[in-house]
Subunit: 324 residues, 2 copies
Protein backbone atom coordinates (compact mmCIF):
# COMPACT_ATOMS: atom_id res chain seq x y z
CA UNK A 1 0.00 0.00 0.00
CA UNK A 2 1.24 3.49 -0.77
CA UNK A 3 1.82 6.03 1.98
CA UNK A 4 -1.18 7.99 0.69
CA UNK A 5 -3.44 5.05 1.44
CA UNK A 6 -2.16 4.77 5.01
CA UNK A 7 -2.52 8.53 5.39
CA UNK A 8 -6.14 8.25 4.28
CA UNK A 9 -6.77 5.51 6.85
CA UNK A 10 -5.32 7.75 9.57
CA UNK A 11 -7.41 10.71 8.42
CA UNK A 12 -10.55 8.60 8.63
CA UNK A 13 -9.68 7.38 12.12
CA UNK A 14 -8.93 10.92 13.32
CA UNK A 15 -12.24 12.15 11.91
CA UNK A 16 -14.02 9.45 13.92
CA UNK A 17 -12.50 10.47 17.28
CA UNK A 18 -15.22 11.87 19.50
CA UNK A 19 -14.24 15.08 21.32
CA UNK A 20 -17.82 16.11 21.90
CA UNK A 21 -17.54 16.03 25.68
CA UNK A 22 -17.85 18.49 28.57
CA UNK A 23 -16.19 20.84 29.16
CA UNK A 24 -16.33 21.83 25.50
CA UNK A 25 -13.81 24.59 26.20
CA UNK A 26 -11.21 21.89 26.84
CA UNK A 27 -12.04 19.45 24.03
CA UNK A 28 -13.23 21.66 21.18
CA UNK A 29 -9.75 23.16 20.62
CA UNK A 30 -8.36 19.62 20.40
CA UNK A 31 -10.90 18.71 17.73
CA UNK A 32 -10.02 21.95 15.93
CA UNK A 33 -6.26 21.30 16.07
CA UNK A 34 -6.66 17.77 14.73
CA UNK A 35 -9.13 18.85 12.02
CA UNK A 36 -6.77 21.44 10.56
CA UNK A 37 -4.97 18.58 8.98
CA UNK A 38 -1.36 17.96 8.35
CA UNK A 39 0.03 15.03 6.43
CA UNK A 40 -0.27 12.38 9.19
CA UNK A 41 3.10 11.16 8.01
CA UNK A 42 4.22 9.68 11.33
CA UNK A 43 1.18 7.49 12.04
CA UNK A 44 1.02 6.49 8.36
CA UNK A 45 4.64 5.34 8.54
CA UNK A 46 3.86 3.36 11.70
CA UNK A 47 1.05 1.56 9.88
CA UNK A 48 3.25 0.94 6.85
CA UNK A 49 5.96 -0.57 9.06
CA UNK A 50 3.54 -2.84 10.89
CA UNK A 51 2.07 -3.89 7.55
CA UNK A 52 5.54 -4.91 6.33
CA UNK A 53 5.45 -7.52 9.10
CA UNK A 54 1.92 -8.64 8.40
CA UNK A 55 0.22 -7.07 11.43
CA UNK A 56 -3.49 -6.32 11.62
CA UNK A 57 -3.57 -2.58 10.90
CA UNK A 58 -6.64 -2.06 13.08
CA UNK A 59 -4.69 -3.15 16.13
CA UNK A 60 -1.93 -0.64 15.39
CA UNK A 61 -4.26 2.31 14.82
CA UNK A 62 -4.59 3.39 18.49
CA UNK A 63 -0.80 3.74 18.84
CA UNK A 64 -0.70 5.52 15.47
CA UNK A 65 -3.32 7.98 16.69
CA UNK A 66 -1.41 8.43 19.96
CA UNK A 67 1.64 9.52 17.97
CA UNK A 68 -0.43 11.94 15.89
CA UNK A 69 -2.14 13.43 18.95
CA UNK A 70 1.24 13.75 20.66
CA UNK A 71 2.70 15.50 17.61
CA UNK A 72 -0.17 17.98 17.59
CA UNK A 73 0.23 18.55 21.34
CA UNK A 74 3.82 19.67 20.69
CA UNK A 75 2.58 22.02 17.95
CA UNK A 76 0.08 23.65 20.34
CA UNK A 77 2.76 24.37 22.93
CA UNK A 78 5.47 25.30 20.38
CA UNK A 79 3.09 27.81 18.84
CA UNK A 80 2.67 29.52 22.21
CA UNK A 81 6.43 29.68 22.71
CA UNK A 82 6.90 31.08 19.20
CA UNK A 83 3.86 33.40 19.37
CA UNK A 84 2.82 31.81 16.07
CA UNK A 85 -0.44 33.07 14.59
CA UNK A 86 -0.78 30.59 11.72
CA UNK A 87 -0.19 26.88 11.25
CA UNK A 88 -1.07 25.02 8.06
CA UNK A 89 -2.69 28.22 6.79
CA UNK A 90 -5.17 28.39 9.68
CA UNK A 91 -5.18 30.29 12.98
CA UNK A 92 -3.17 28.48 15.69
CA UNK A 93 -5.01 27.35 18.80
CA UNK A 94 -3.26 30.00 20.88
CA UNK A 95 -4.36 32.70 18.42
CA UNK A 96 -7.94 31.41 18.04
CA UNK A 97 -8.74 30.33 21.59
CA UNK A 98 -6.10 32.11 23.70
CA UNK A 99 -2.89 31.07 25.30
CA UNK A 100 -4.35 29.50 28.45
CA UNK A 101 -6.53 27.25 26.31
CA UNK A 102 -3.55 26.22 24.20
CA UNK A 103 -1.66 25.28 27.37
CA UNK A 104 -4.48 23.30 28.96
CA UNK A 105 -5.90 21.65 25.84
CA UNK A 106 -2.32 20.81 24.92
CA UNK A 107 -1.83 19.14 28.31
CA UNK A 108 -5.02 17.16 27.74
CA UNK A 109 -3.74 16.06 24.32
CA UNK A 110 -0.60 14.64 25.93
CA UNK A 111 -2.81 12.77 28.40
CA UNK A 112 -5.12 11.66 25.58
CA UNK A 113 -2.11 10.29 23.69
CA UNK A 114 -1.29 8.09 26.70
CA UNK A 115 -4.95 7.08 26.91
CA UNK A 116 -4.91 6.04 23.24
CA UNK A 117 -1.91 3.78 23.93
CA UNK A 118 -4.01 1.88 26.50
CA UNK A 119 -6.07 0.43 23.66
CA UNK A 120 -3.15 -1.77 22.67
CA UNK A 121 -2.83 -5.34 24.01
CA UNK A 122 -2.06 -5.28 27.73
CA UNK A 123 0.98 -7.51 27.33
CA UNK A 124 2.65 -4.92 25.12
CA UNK A 125 1.81 -1.89 27.26
CA UNK A 126 4.84 -1.70 29.57
CA UNK A 127 7.28 -1.60 26.66
CA UNK A 128 5.00 0.66 24.61
CA UNK A 129 4.70 3.21 27.44
CA UNK A 130 8.44 3.07 27.98
CA UNK A 131 9.33 3.70 24.34
CA UNK A 132 6.68 6.41 24.03
CA UNK A 133 7.77 8.36 27.13
CA UNK A 134 11.40 8.07 26.10
CA UNK A 135 10.52 9.64 22.75
CA UNK A 136 8.38 12.34 24.41
CA UNK A 137 11.29 13.31 26.67
CA UNK A 138 13.62 13.57 23.67
CA UNK A 139 11.17 15.92 21.93
CA UNK A 140 11.14 18.20 25.00
CA UNK A 141 14.94 18.17 25.10
CA UNK A 142 15.06 19.08 21.41
CA UNK A 143 12.61 21.93 21.87
CA UNK A 144 14.70 23.22 24.79
CA UNK A 145 17.86 23.25 22.67
CA UNK A 146 15.98 24.91 19.82
CA UNK A 147 14.88 27.72 22.18
CA UNK A 148 18.40 28.07 23.58
CA UNK A 149 19.88 28.37 20.09
CA UNK A 150 17.84 31.54 19.54
CA UNK A 151 20.15 33.47 21.83
CA UNK A 152 23.33 31.60 21.04
CA UNK A 153 25.72 32.88 18.41
CA UNK A 154 28.20 30.01 18.32
CA UNK A 155 25.94 27.05 17.49
CA UNK A 156 27.90 24.39 15.62
CA UNK A 157 26.49 21.93 13.09
CA UNK A 158 26.91 18.94 15.42
CA UNK A 159 24.74 20.69 18.04
CA UNK A 160 22.15 21.44 15.38
CA UNK A 161 22.03 17.85 14.15
CA UNK A 162 21.67 16.70 17.77
CA UNK A 163 18.80 19.17 18.28
CA UNK A 164 16.81 18.05 15.22
CA UNK A 165 17.53 14.42 16.05
CA UNK A 166 15.74 14.99 19.36
CA UNK A 167 13.05 17.41 18.22
CA UNK A 168 12.08 15.91 14.86
CA UNK A 169 13.79 12.62 14.04
CA UNK A 170 13.08 10.82 17.35
CA UNK A 171 9.32 10.95 16.79
CA UNK A 172 9.60 9.60 13.23
CA UNK A 173 12.03 6.88 14.33
CA UNK A 174 9.89 5.90 17.31
CA UNK A 175 6.80 5.68 15.11
CA UNK A 176 8.58 3.08 12.98
CA UNK A 177 9.95 1.31 16.05
CA UNK A 178 6.48 1.06 17.60
CA UNK A 179 5.01 -0.21 14.33
CA UNK A 180 7.66 -2.94 14.23
CA UNK A 181 7.27 -3.72 17.93
CA UNK A 182 3.48 -4.09 17.78
CA UNK A 183 3.89 -6.33 14.70
CA UNK A 184 6.28 -8.56 16.64
CA UNK A 185 9.19 -7.82 14.33
CA UNK A 186 12.55 -9.14 15.59
CA UNK A 187 14.33 -6.86 18.08
CA UNK A 188 17.17 -6.34 15.59
CA UNK A 189 14.73 -5.09 12.94
CA UNK A 190 13.21 -2.61 15.38
CA UNK A 191 16.62 -1.09 16.02
CA UNK A 192 17.43 -0.87 12.32
CA UNK A 193 14.09 0.73 11.55
CA UNK A 194 14.72 3.21 14.36
CA UNK A 195 18.11 4.09 12.84
CA UNK A 196 16.52 4.40 9.44
CA UNK A 197 13.92 6.76 10.95
CA UNK A 198 16.58 8.93 12.60
CA UNK A 199 18.46 9.46 9.33
CA UNK A 200 15.24 9.96 7.42
CA UNK A 201 14.09 12.48 10.04
CA UNK A 202 17.33 14.46 9.88
CA UNK A 203 17.26 14.53 6.08
CA UNK A 204 13.57 15.53 6.24
CA UNK A 205 14.33 18.51 8.52
CA UNK A 206 17.35 19.62 6.49
CA UNK A 207 15.18 19.54 3.38
CA UNK A 208 12.61 21.68 5.27
CA UNK A 209 15.37 24.18 6.06
CA UNK A 210 16.52 24.15 2.43
CA UNK A 211 13.05 24.67 1.03
CA UNK A 212 12.58 27.87 3.07
CA UNK A 213 14.71 29.66 0.47
CA UNK A 214 14.98 27.23 -2.40
CA UNK A 215 11.52 25.75 -2.90
CA UNK A 216 10.72 25.69 -6.59
CA UNK A 217 7.02 25.16 -5.98
CA UNK A 218 4.57 27.45 -4.24
CA UNK A 219 3.00 24.31 -2.76
CA UNK A 220 5.55 24.29 0.08
CA UNK A 221 2.98 26.22 2.11
CA UNK A 222 5.36 28.48 3.99
CA UNK A 223 6.20 32.04 2.97
CA UNK A 224 9.50 31.92 1.16
CA UNK A 225 12.34 33.13 3.36
CA UNK A 226 10.35 33.19 6.61
CA UNK A 227 13.16 31.39 8.46
CA UNK A 228 15.58 34.02 7.18
CA UNK A 229 13.30 36.87 8.27
CA UNK A 230 13.03 35.35 11.76
CA UNK A 231 16.80 34.72 12.01
CA UNK A 232 15.87 31.10 12.64
CA UNK A 233 18.95 29.01 13.33
CA UNK A 234 18.50 26.57 10.47
CA UNK A 235 21.19 24.35 8.97
CA UNK A 236 21.71 27.04 6.34
CA UNK A 237 22.20 29.95 8.72
CA UNK A 238 24.42 27.98 11.11
CA UNK A 239 26.65 26.86 8.25
CA UNK A 240 26.84 30.45 6.99
CA UNK A 241 27.65 31.83 10.46
CA UNK A 242 30.38 29.22 10.87
CA UNK A 243 31.92 29.84 7.44
CA UNK A 244 31.56 33.57 6.84
CA UNK A 245 34.74 35.63 7.17
CA UNK A 246 35.76 39.24 6.65
CA UNK A 247 33.39 41.35 4.62
CA UNK A 248 30.80 38.60 4.13
CA UNK A 249 30.72 38.04 7.88
CA UNK A 250 30.08 41.75 8.44
CA UNK A 251 27.28 41.72 5.89
CA UNK A 252 25.66 38.68 7.47
CA UNK A 253 25.90 40.22 10.93
CA UNK A 254 24.33 43.41 9.63
CA UNK A 255 21.31 41.52 8.32
CA UNK A 256 20.98 39.52 11.55
CA UNK A 257 20.60 42.71 13.61
CA UNK A 258 17.02 43.68 14.55
CA UNK A 259 15.06 44.99 11.58
CA UNK A 260 15.17 48.80 12.07
CA UNK A 261 13.08 49.53 9.04
CA UNK A 262 14.90 47.07 6.79
CA UNK A 263 12.89 45.89 3.82
CA UNK A 264 11.98 42.21 4.37
CA UNK A 265 12.43 41.33 0.70
CA UNK A 266 15.82 43.07 0.67
CA UNK A 267 16.88 41.03 3.71
CA UNK A 268 15.81 37.75 2.13
CA UNK A 269 17.58 38.65 -1.10
CA UNK A 270 20.78 39.77 0.64
CA UNK A 271 20.98 36.71 2.89
CA UNK A 272 20.30 34.46 -0.07
CA UNK A 273 23.17 36.05 -1.93
CA UNK A 274 25.47 35.51 1.06
CA UNK A 275 24.36 31.88 1.25
CA UNK A 276 25.03 31.46 -2.47
CA UNK A 277 28.53 32.98 -2.19
CA UNK A 278 29.33 30.56 0.63
CA UNK A 279 27.85 27.66 -1.36
CA UNK A 280 25.42 26.92 1.43
CA UNK A 281 22.74 25.39 -0.87
CA UNK A 282 25.25 22.89 -2.26
CA UNK A 283 26.49 22.03 1.24
CA UNK A 284 22.94 21.52 2.45
CA UNK A 285 22.03 19.30 -0.50
CA UNK A 286 25.16 17.26 0.21
CA UNK A 287 24.14 16.84 3.86
CA UNK A 288 20.61 15.83 2.81
CA UNK A 289 22.12 13.29 0.43
CA UNK A 290 24.41 11.95 3.16
CA UNK A 291 21.54 11.29 5.59
CA UNK A 292 19.25 10.05 2.81
CA UNK A 293 21.90 7.58 1.68
CA UNK A 294 22.38 6.36 5.25
CA UNK A 295 18.63 5.87 5.57
CA UNK A 296 18.42 4.02 2.26
CA UNK A 297 21.39 1.78 3.10
CA UNK A 298 19.79 0.80 6.40
CA UNK A 299 16.50 0.07 4.71
CA UNK A 300 18.13 -1.93 1.92
CA UNK A 301 20.10 -3.99 4.44
CA UNK A 302 16.94 -4.87 6.39
CA UNK A 303 16.59 -8.65 5.90
CA UNK A 304 13.04 -8.84 4.59
CA UNK A 305 11.82 -9.46 1.06
CA UNK A 306 12.36 -6.62 -1.38
CA UNK A 307 8.69 -6.29 -2.35
CA UNK A 308 7.70 -5.80 1.31
CA UNK A 309 9.88 -2.71 1.62
CA UNK A 310 9.29 -1.32 -1.86
CA UNK A 311 6.66 1.15 -0.62
CA UNK A 312 8.96 2.46 2.09
CA UNK A 313 11.84 2.84 -0.35
CA UNK A 314 9.61 4.81 -2.65
CA UNK A 315 8.40 6.96 0.23
CA UNK A 316 11.98 7.72 1.26
CA UNK A 317 12.87 8.82 -2.24
CA UNK A 318 9.72 10.90 -2.57
CA UNK A 319 10.05 12.55 0.84
CA UNK A 320 13.59 13.68 0.35
CA UNK A 321 13.02 15.05 -3.11
CA UNK A 322 9.81 16.81 -2.13
CA UNK A 323 9.28 20.44 -3.06
CA UNK A 324 6.47 20.87 -0.58
Amino acid sequence: MSIQQYQALVSDAIAKLDWNRAPQGLYHPIAYALSVGGKHLRPAMMLMTADMYGADINKIMPAALAVEIFHNFTLLHDDIMDHAAKRRGQATVQKKFGENTAILSGDQMLISAYQMLEKTDNALLPELFHVFSDMAEKVCQGQQYDMEFENQYDVIIADYINMITLKTAALIATSLQIGAMLANAPEEHRKELYNYGINLGIAFQLRDDYLDLYATSTAFGKTQGSDVLNNKKTYLLIQAMNMAKGDIKNQLEYWLQPAQGKDPQAKIQAVKEIFDKLQIPQLTLEAIKKYTDKALETLEALPIEADKKADMLQLTNNLLKRNK
Copy 2:
Protein backbone atom coordinates in the same frame (compact mmCIF):
# COMPACT_ATOMS: atom_id res chain seq x y z
CA MET B 1 3.12 5.65 61.30
CA SER B 2 1.96 9.25 61.41
CA ILE B 3 1.42 11.25 58.24
CA GLN B 4 4.50 13.34 59.13
CA GLN B 5 6.67 10.25 58.95
CA TYR B 6 5.37 9.34 55.49
CA GLN B 7 5.83 12.95 54.42
CA ALA B 8 9.46 12.78 55.58
CA LEU B 9 10.00 9.60 53.55
CA VAL B 10 8.60 11.33 50.46
CA SER B 11 10.79 14.41 51.06
CA ASP B 12 13.87 12.21 51.24
CA ALA B 13 12.95 10.39 48.04
CA ILE B 14 12.29 13.68 46.21
CA ALA B 15 15.65 15.06 47.35
CA LYS B 16 17.34 11.99 45.89
CA LEU B 17 15.84 12.41 42.42
CA ASP B 18 18.59 13.31 39.97
CA TRP B 19 17.70 16.15 37.58
CA ASN B 20 21.31 16.97 36.84
CA ARG B 21 21.01 16.21 33.13
CA ALA B 22 21.39 18.07 29.86
CA PRO B 23 19.80 20.31 28.83
CA GLN B 24 19.97 21.96 32.26
CA GLY B 25 17.52 24.61 31.06
CA LEU B 26 14.85 21.91 30.92
CA TYR B 27 15.61 19.99 34.12
CA HIS B 28 16.87 22.65 36.52
CA PRO B 29 13.43 24.34 36.77
CA ILE B 30 11.96 20.93 37.65
CA ALA B 31 14.48 20.46 40.45
CA TYR B 32 13.67 23.99 41.62
CA ALA B 33 9.90 23.44 41.60
CA LEU B 34 10.20 20.21 43.56
CA SER B 35 12.70 21.69 46.05
CA VAL B 36 10.42 24.58 46.98
CA GLY B 37 8.54 22.07 49.04
CA GLY B 38 4.92 21.71 49.78
CA LYS B 39 3.48 19.23 52.19
CA HIS B 40 3.70 16.10 49.99
CA LEU B 41 0.30 15.21 51.35
CA ARG B 42 -0.87 13.19 48.35
CA PRO B 43 2.11 10.81 48.07
CA ALA B 44 2.23 10.50 51.88
CA MET B 45 -1.41 9.44 51.89
CA MET B 46 -0.69 6.90 49.15
CA LEU B 47 2.07 5.38 51.28
CA MET B 48 -0.16 5.40 54.36
CA THR B 49 -2.91 3.59 52.46
CA ALA B 50 -0.54 0.95 51.09
CA ASP B 51 0.91 0.48 54.57
CA MET B 52 -2.61 -0.18 55.93
CA TYR B 53 -2.59 -3.27 53.71
CA GLY B 54 0.92 -4.35 54.61
CA ALA B 55 2.64 -3.40 51.36
CA ASP B 56 6.37 -2.80 51.02
CA ILE B 57 6.57 1.01 51.06
CA ASN B 58 9.64 1.03 48.81
CA LYS B 59 7.66 -0.55 46.02
CA ILE B 60 4.97 2.12 46.30
CA MET B 61 7.39 5.07 46.31
CA PRO B 62 7.74 5.44 42.49
CA ALA B 63 3.96 5.82 42.09
CA ALA B 64 3.91 8.20 45.08
CA LEU B 65 6.59 10.33 43.43
CA ALA B 66 4.69 10.21 40.14
CA VAL B 67 1.68 11.73 41.87
CA GLU B 68 3.82 14.45 43.48
CA ILE B 69 5.58 15.30 40.19
CA PHE B 70 2.18 15.39 38.45
CA HIS B 71 0.79 17.71 41.13
CA ASN B 72 3.72 20.08 40.69
CA PHE B 73 3.32 19.96 36.90
CA THR B 74 -0.22 21.27 37.32
CA LEU B 75 1.07 24.05 39.57
CA LEU B 76 3.63 25.15 36.93
CA HIS B 77 0.97 25.44 34.26
CA ASP B 78 -1.71 26.89 36.59
CA ASP B 79 0.74 29.60 37.65
CA ILE B 80 1.19 30.64 34.00
CA MET B 81 -2.57 30.80 33.48
CA ASP B 82 -2.99 32.83 36.71
CA HIS B 83 0.11 35.01 36.09
CA ALA B 84 1.13 34.02 39.62
CA ALA B 85 4.43 35.44 40.85
CA LYS B 86 4.70 33.54 44.13
CA ARG B 87 4.02 29.99 45.29
CA ARG B 88 4.85 28.72 48.77
CA GLY B 89 6.57 32.05 49.45
CA GLN B 90 9.03 31.64 46.56
CA ALA B 91 9.08 32.87 42.96
CA THR B 92 7.03 30.67 40.64
CA VAL B 93 8.83 28.92 37.79
CA GLN B 94 7.15 31.18 35.25
CA LYS B 95 8.32 34.26 37.16
CA LYS B 96 11.85 32.99 37.80
CA PHE B 97 12.63 31.24 34.49
CA GLY B 98 10.03 32.66 32.10
CA GLU B 99 6.78 31.44 30.71
CA ASN B 100 8.21 29.27 27.91
CA THR B 101 10.32 27.39 30.43
CA ALA B 102 7.32 26.87 32.68
CA ILE B 103 5.39 25.40 29.74
CA LEU B 104 8.16 23.08 28.54
CA SER B 105 9.55 22.00 31.92
CA GLY B 106 5.94 21.43 32.98
CA ASP B 107 5.39 19.19 29.95
CA GLN B 108 8.52 17.26 30.87
CA MET B 109 7.22 16.84 34.44
CA LEU B 110 4.03 15.24 33.12
CA ILE B 111 6.18 12.88 31.03
CA SER B 112 8.48 12.24 34.02
CA ALA B 113 5.44 11.33 36.12
CA TYR B 114 4.54 8.64 33.57
CA GLN B 115 8.18 7.50 33.56
CA MET B 116 8.12 7.15 37.36
CA LEU B 117 5.05 4.90 37.08
CA GLU B 118 7.09 2.50 34.92
CA LYS B 119 9.13 1.53 37.98
CA THR B 120 6.13 -0.36 39.34
CA ASP B 121 5.72 -4.10 38.69
CA ASN B 122 4.94 -4.70 35.01
CA ALA B 123 1.84 -6.75 35.81
CA LEU B 124 0.24 -3.74 37.50
CA LEU B 125 1.17 -1.18 34.85
CA PRO B 126 -1.86 -1.34 32.53
CA GLU B 127 -4.29 -0.65 35.39
CA LEU B 128 -1.94 1.90 36.97
CA PHE B 129 -1.59 3.86 33.72
CA HIS B 130 -5.33 3.74 33.21
CA VAL B 131 -6.18 5.06 36.66
CA PHE B 132 -3.47 7.70 36.48
CA SER B 133 -4.51 9.08 33.08
CA ASP B 134 -8.14 9.07 34.14
CA MET B 135 -7.20 11.22 37.13
CA ALA B 136 -5.00 13.51 35.00
CA GLU B 137 -7.88 14.13 32.60
CA LYS B 138 -10.21 15.01 35.50
CA VAL B 139 -7.68 17.56 36.78
CA CYS B 140 -7.60 19.23 33.33
CA GLN B 141 -11.39 19.28 33.23
CA GLY B 142 -11.48 20.86 36.69
CA GLN B 143 -8.95 23.52 35.71
CA GLN B 144 -11.00 24.30 32.60
CA TYR B 145 -14.18 24.81 34.68
CA ASP B 146 -12.25 26.91 37.18
CA MET B 147 -11.07 29.21 34.36
CA GLU B 148 -14.57 29.39 32.88
CA PHE B 149 -16.05 30.37 36.26
CA GLU B 150 -13.91 33.54 36.21
CA ASN B 151 -16.19 35.06 33.59
CA GLN B 152 -19.40 33.44 34.69
CA TYR B 153 -21.77 35.25 37.04
CA ASP B 154 -24.29 32.50 37.66
CA VAL B 155 -22.13 29.69 39.03
CA ILE B 156 -24.13 27.49 41.37
CA ILE B 157 -22.80 25.50 44.32
CA ALA B 158 -23.31 22.14 42.59
CA ASP B 159 -21.10 23.32 39.70
CA TYR B 160 -18.50 24.48 42.15
CA ILE B 161 -18.46 21.17 44.03
CA ASN B 162 -18.14 19.37 40.69
CA MET B 163 -15.21 21.62 39.74
CA ILE B 164 -13.23 21.03 42.95
CA THR B 165 -14.06 17.31 42.81
CA LEU B 166 -12.27 17.23 39.46
CA LYS B 167 -9.51 19.74 40.12
CA THR B 168 -8.58 18.86 43.70
CA ALA B 169 -10.36 15.83 45.12
CA ALA B 170 -9.72 13.42 42.22
CA LEU B 171 -5.95 13.55 42.74
CA ILE B 172 -6.26 12.89 46.49
CA ALA B 173 -8.77 10.09 45.91
CA THR B 174 -6.67 8.52 43.15
CA SER B 175 -3.57 8.63 45.37
CA LEU B 176 -5.43 6.52 47.94
CA GLN B 177 -6.85 4.25 45.25
CA ILE B 178 -3.40 3.61 43.77
CA GLY B 179 -1.95 2.94 47.24
CA ALA B 180 -4.67 0.35 47.82
CA MET B 181 -4.32 -1.13 44.34
CA LEU B 182 -0.55 -1.56 44.56
CA ALA B 183 -1.01 -3.17 47.99
CA ASN B 184 -3.45 -5.65 46.50
CA ALA B 185 -6.35 -4.41 48.62
CA PRO B 186 -9.72 -5.84 47.61
CA GLU B 187 -11.46 -4.03 44.74
CA GLU B 188 -14.27 -2.99 47.07
CA HIS B 189 -11.81 -1.32 49.45
CA ARG B 190 -10.22 0.61 46.61
CA LYS B 191 -13.57 2.06 45.69
CA GLU B 192 -14.38 2.97 49.28
CA LEU B 193 -10.99 4.62 49.75
CA TYR B 194 -11.58 6.55 46.53
CA ASN B 195 -14.92 7.77 47.85
CA TYR B 196 -13.33 8.68 51.16
CA GLY B 197 -10.65 10.65 49.24
CA ILE B 198 -13.25 12.54 47.21
CA ASN B 199 -15.11 13.71 50.32
CA LEU B 200 -11.87 14.48 52.13
CA GLY B 201 -10.64 16.44 49.09
CA ILE B 202 -13.84 18.49 48.85
CA ALA B 203 -13.75 19.27 52.58
CA PHE B 204 -10.05 20.13 52.24
CA GLN B 205 -10.71 22.63 49.44
CA LEU B 206 -13.71 24.19 51.22
CA ARG B 207 -11.51 24.65 54.30
CA ASP B 208 -8.91 26.30 52.07
CA ASP B 209 -11.59 28.68 50.81
CA TYR B 210 -12.73 29.38 54.39
CA LEU B 211 -9.21 30.05 55.67
CA ASP B 212 -8.65 32.78 53.06
CA LEU B 213 -10.70 35.09 55.27
CA TYR B 214 -11.07 33.27 58.55
CA ALA B 215 -7.63 31.78 59.31
CA THR B 216 -6.81 32.39 62.97
CA SER B 217 -3.15 31.63 62.45
CA THR B 218 -0.62 33.48 60.29
CA ALA B 219 0.85 30.08 59.44
CA PHE B 220 -1.74 29.63 56.64
CA GLY B 221 0.91 31.05 54.30
CA LYS B 222 -1.42 32.98 52.01
CA THR B 223 -2.13 36.69 52.34
CA GLN B 224 -5.43 37.02 54.17
CA GLY B 225 -8.23 37.89 51.77
CA SER B 226 -6.28 37.28 48.57
CA ASP B 227 -9.16 35.26 47.12
CA VAL B 228 -11.49 38.17 47.87
CA LEU B 229 -9.12 40.67 46.26
CA ASN B 230 -8.93 38.54 43.10
CA ASN B 231 -12.72 37.98 42.99
CA LYS B 232 -11.90 34.29 43.06
CA LYS B 233 -15.06 32.19 42.75
CA THR B 234 -14.66 30.32 46.02
CA TYR B 235 -17.41 28.51 47.89
CA LEU B 236 -17.84 31.66 50.00
CA LEU B 237 -18.25 34.07 47.11
CA ILE B 238 -20.52 31.75 45.12
CA GLN B 239 -22.78 31.27 48.14
CA ALA B 240 -22.85 35.02 48.70
CA MET B 241 -23.63 35.74 45.04
CA ASN B 242 -26.44 33.21 45.13
CA MET B 243 -27.93 34.49 48.37
CA ALA B 244 -27.46 38.26 48.25
CA LYS B 245 -30.57 40.30 47.55
CA GLY B 246 -31.48 43.97 47.33
CA ASP B 247 -29.05 46.35 48.98
CA ILE B 248 -26.55 43.66 49.98
CA LYS B 249 -26.52 42.42 46.40
CA ASN B 250 -25.76 45.95 45.17
CA GLN B 251 -22.94 46.32 47.68
CA LEU B 252 -21.43 42.98 46.69
CA GLU B 253 -21.63 43.84 43.00
CA TYR B 254 -19.98 47.18 43.68
CA TRP B 255 -17.00 45.48 45.31
CA LEU B 256 -16.74 42.91 42.52
CA GLN B 257 -16.29 45.65 39.91
CA PRO B 258 -12.70 46.30 38.78
CA ALA B 259 -10.64 48.04 41.45
CA GLN B 260 -10.63 51.69 40.23
CA GLY B 261 -8.52 52.92 43.10
CA LYS B 262 -10.43 51.01 45.77
CA ASP B 263 -8.42 50.36 48.90
CA PRO B 264 -7.63 46.62 49.07
CA GLN B 265 -8.10 46.45 52.85
CA ALA B 266 -11.42 48.25 52.56
CA LYS B 267 -12.55 45.73 49.95
CA ILE B 268 -11.57 42.77 52.11
CA GLN B 269 -13.29 44.32 55.13
CA ALA B 270 -16.45 45.18 53.21
CA VAL B 271 -16.78 41.76 51.55
CA LYS B 272 -16.14 40.07 54.88
CA GLU B 273 -18.97 42.10 56.43
CA ILE B 274 -21.29 41.08 53.60
CA PHE B 275 -20.31 37.42 54.08
CA ASP B 276 -20.95 37.74 57.82
CA LYS B 277 -24.40 39.27 57.25
CA LEU B 278 -25.29 36.39 54.94
CA GLN B 279 -23.92 33.87 57.44
CA ILE B 280 -21.50 32.54 54.83
CA PRO B 281 -18.85 31.39 57.37
CA GLN B 282 -21.43 29.27 59.19
CA LEU B 283 -22.72 27.81 55.93
CA THR B 284 -19.19 26.99 54.84
CA LEU B 285 -18.36 25.31 58.14
CA GLU B 286 -21.54 23.26 57.83
CA ALA B 287 -20.56 22.16 54.33
CA ILE B 288 -17.06 21.25 55.53
CA LYS B 289 -18.63 19.24 58.35
CA LYS B 290 -20.95 17.48 55.92
CA TYR B 291 -18.13 16.29 53.65
CA THR B 292 -15.85 15.51 56.61
CA ASP B 293 -18.58 13.39 58.17
CA LYS B 294 -19.10 11.56 54.88
CA ALA B 295 -15.37 10.90 54.67
CA LEU B 296 -15.20 9.68 58.26
CA GLU B 297 -18.24 7.43 57.82
CA THR B 298 -16.68 5.79 54.78
CA LEU B 299 -13.39 5.29 56.58
CA GLU B 300 -15.10 3.90 59.68
CA ALA B 301 -17.12 1.46 57.58
CA LEU B 302 -13.98 0.15 55.84
CA PRO B 303 -13.75 -3.48 57.02
CA ILE B 304 -10.20 -3.51 58.34
CA GLU B 305 -8.98 -3.52 61.94
CA ALA B 306 -9.43 -0.24 63.82
CA ASP B 307 -5.76 0.16 64.72
CA LYS B 308 -4.77 -0.07 61.05
CA LYS B 309 -6.87 2.95 60.15
CA ALA B 310 -6.22 4.95 63.33
CA ASP B 311 -3.53 7.10 61.64
CA MET B 312 -5.79 7.93 58.75
CA LEU B 313 -8.66 8.82 61.04
CA GLN B 314 -6.38 11.13 62.96
CA LEU B 315 -5.10 12.67 59.73
CA THR B 316 -8.67 13.32 58.59
CA ASN B 317 -9.51 15.08 61.82
CA ASN B 318 -6.32 17.12 61.75
CA LEU B 319 -6.60 18.11 58.11
CA LEU B 320 -10.09 19.39 58.36
CA LYS B 321 -9.46 21.38 61.50
CA ARG B 322 -6.21 22.82 60.21
CA ASN B 323 -5.51 26.54 60.43
CA LYS B 324 -2.71 26.41 57.90
